[in-house]
């Protein structure tokens, strides 16, 4: 059963039909707007123009890739980002799971408060979190180092794991836990044999999102890093001192690849098209 509606703002009450052409174009436009800029970066990673600004590119080369490969500072930044992301993700997974278990399965007043607290680091603008952490950490006298970066990242990564785990717990319901205890397993055994396997994919998805979030983060990191440069900070420096633009392009391409993969996997694990909010 098909019908084509001519007006742009028509709402077709028989779903699954052809959308008006105008609507489709507008939607397509939005999608293109979202994705074309990154393609530009990809393109420029291959251009022979050293300032990598002219369009169309005068030629294509792979030269910059080998150049980037040899840059020690790049590898340092990459290694730091990787380590920070790994530790922050671990912290986020542990704390987020504990919090989600408490809020979904526990009975106490103030559950909404806990949720708010978990979401706050990511809800408030990055600059607020950044400057707050910086002045807080300055008060303690701790030197700005790897661990201060992790402190920042871990804090706002908790929410991704928390949301995923909480959503999964809500879908599962209590009866499985009760059944397990009914059959002779105590709290710890039940957790190990029933709860954890049930959470596995949610933990994985949340963890990957946390990894991606941490790997890419720049605003809070500028405040909590000392002399260290994570990969995004390295790129940020390049923005204001555009010396090695070709290498920057290659790095940009690389960062996109590294952060896209976990997102795709997390999407697949959450059942594709799930409603997990940021």
């Amino acid at each position: 059963m098909r019908s084509s509606v001519r007006s742009k703002s028509g709402s077709d009450s028989r779903g699954g039909e052809r959308a008006p052409l105008g609507l489709k174009l507008a939607a397509l436009g939005a999608i293109l707007f979202l994705h074309l800029p990154l393609l530009v970066v990809f393109l420029y990673a291959f251009t022979t123009d050293e300032a990598t600004l002219t369009f169309p590119p005068p030629g294509l080369t792979l030269r910059w890739f080998s150049l980037a490969w040899q840059r020690a500072d790049l590898w340092q930044a990459f290694s730091l980002s990787l380590r920070v992301a790994a530790v922050s993700t671990t912290v986020a997974v542990v704390l987020g799971t504990l919090a989600a278990l408490a809020v979904v399965r526990g009975r106490f007043a103030g559950r909404e408060m806990v949720t708010l607290l978990v979401i706050l680091p990511i809800a408030l603008p990055g600059i607020v979190t950044g400057i707050a952490l910086r002045s807080g950490l300055a008060l303690t006298g701790l030197p700005f180092s790897f661990w201060t970066i992790v402190a920042g990242h871990g804090t706002f990564c908790i929410v991704t794991v928390y949301n995923n785990v909480a959503a999964r717990l809500r879908r599962t319901g209590r009866s499985q836990i009760e059944a397990s205890m009914d059959l002779g397993a105590d709290t710890f055994q039940t957790f190990r044999r029933i709860v954890l396997p049930g959470l596995a994919t949610a933990l994985l998805a949340g963890g990957m999102l946390a990894f991606s979030l941490s790997f890419d983060e720049v605003i809070v990191t500028t405040f909590t890093a000392g002399q260290q440069r994570t990969l995004p900070i390295w790129i940020l420096d390049q923005l204001t001192r555009p010396r090695d633009r070709p290498v920057t392009n290659v790095t940009a391409l690389f960062v996109i690849a590294v952060t896209t993969l976990p997102i795709l996997l997390a999407h697949r694990l959450s059942g594709g098209g799930g409603r997990e909010e940021r």
Partner: protein, 301 residues
């Protein structure tokens, strides 16, 4: 052995709860809330004009400094941009969100959803960087405009004071485009969620009662989608208020709130002023959130 611990926890569920909630609350409470409190406290200190040192006594002097013309300019500039970006984002997102909610099915919908999620989660800094390349004078946008013979239009637009500048990448318009690009997914998703929640039976009932499609859209769909728009606007507004990287990379030397804060807490060493300036977007957002909550936006999140 472990069994005894389990028995204890079972009989005393509060202890179990404490064990679960303790670590995350401790971390968040100490690390995060503690820092926020420290920040707030600092905003009530002030910098002595002569010594340049921070004086740790309670005063409103720093807050008074917020009202200088330069600072008020910063607030105005940032807020206007936030509003403009929000409106533009809403307009641009709506067709896509509508299409995704009403017409897309199965694989197409999954792909589209992924297509919105990926930019949302993928690297912020790279996406900003990409626009530096695009907006450059020799870059793709200029090439495009000359290719379609509209370069004179472009120059004319760039000549408009307040919006334009020497080139796209040094103009307010450029900043606007980048903000719009970066925050767009944050607007699309809540609108799509809100539109999906509109039961088809409502639209059918409206048609059944004699309303033409346009009227149904205006009177039924749009009001029900509004909470989603507001929810998205929370993001776009708040994110613009606090950002310093985009205005720092694109545009002229006029400052946004984020940049001012960064500057004050950095080399200028005026942490109290930085803290006070941070409080402003927080207050704006608190008021905005309260208003949005009244309009039911929180359900669309």
């Amino acid at each position: 052995m472990l069994r005894r611990a389990a028995n204890f926890l079972f009989r005393h569920p509060r202890w179990a709860l404490g064990l679960l909630l303790g670590p995350p609350l401790l971390w968040l409470g100490v690390v995060y809330l503690g820092s926020l409190a420290a920040l707030l406290v600092q905003s009530f200190f002030h910098v002595d004009d002569f010594t340049g040192q921070v004086v740790r006594s309670f005063s409103f002097a720093t807050y008074a400094q917020l009202f200088t013309p330069a600072n008020l300019d910063i607030f105005r500039r940032t807020t206007v941009m936030a509003a403009a970006v929000t409106i533009a984002a809403a307009l641009l997102s709506f067709p896509l969100a509508y299409f995704m909610a009403r017409y897309a099915r199965g694989r197409v919908r999954s792909m589209l959803y992924l297509g919105v999620i990926l930019p949302l989660w993928s690297s912020y800094i790279v996406r900003v960087y990409s626009w530096k390349l695009i907006l450059a004078k020799e870059g793709i946008l200029s090439w495009f405009f000359s290719a379609v013979g509209m370069s004179r239009v472009l120059d004319a637009v760039l000549g408009i004071p307040g919006i334009g500048g020497p080139s796209l990448s040094f103009s307010t318009l450029g900043r606007f485009l980048v903000f719009l690009y970066i925050w767009l997914p944050y607007m699309i998703l809540p609108i799509q969620a809100a539109l999906e929640r509109v039961p088809k039976s409502l639209l059918e009932a409206s048609a059944d009662l004699g309303a033409p499609p346009g009227k149904t859209f205006r009177k039924v769909t749009l009001p029900l989608a509004l909470p989603g728009v507001i929810a998205g606007s929370i993001f776009t507004f708040s994110l613009t208020l606090g950002d310093f990287i985009i205005p720092g990379t694109i545009g002229d030397s006029s400052l946004f709130i984020g940049q001012a804060v960064l500057r004050h807490q950095g080399t200028a060493g005026n942490v109290p002023l930085a803290a006070a300036m941070t409080v402003v977007p927080m207050l704006i957002m608190a008021a905005y959130l309260a208003w949005a909550r009244r309009l039911g936006a929180f359900d669309a999140l």
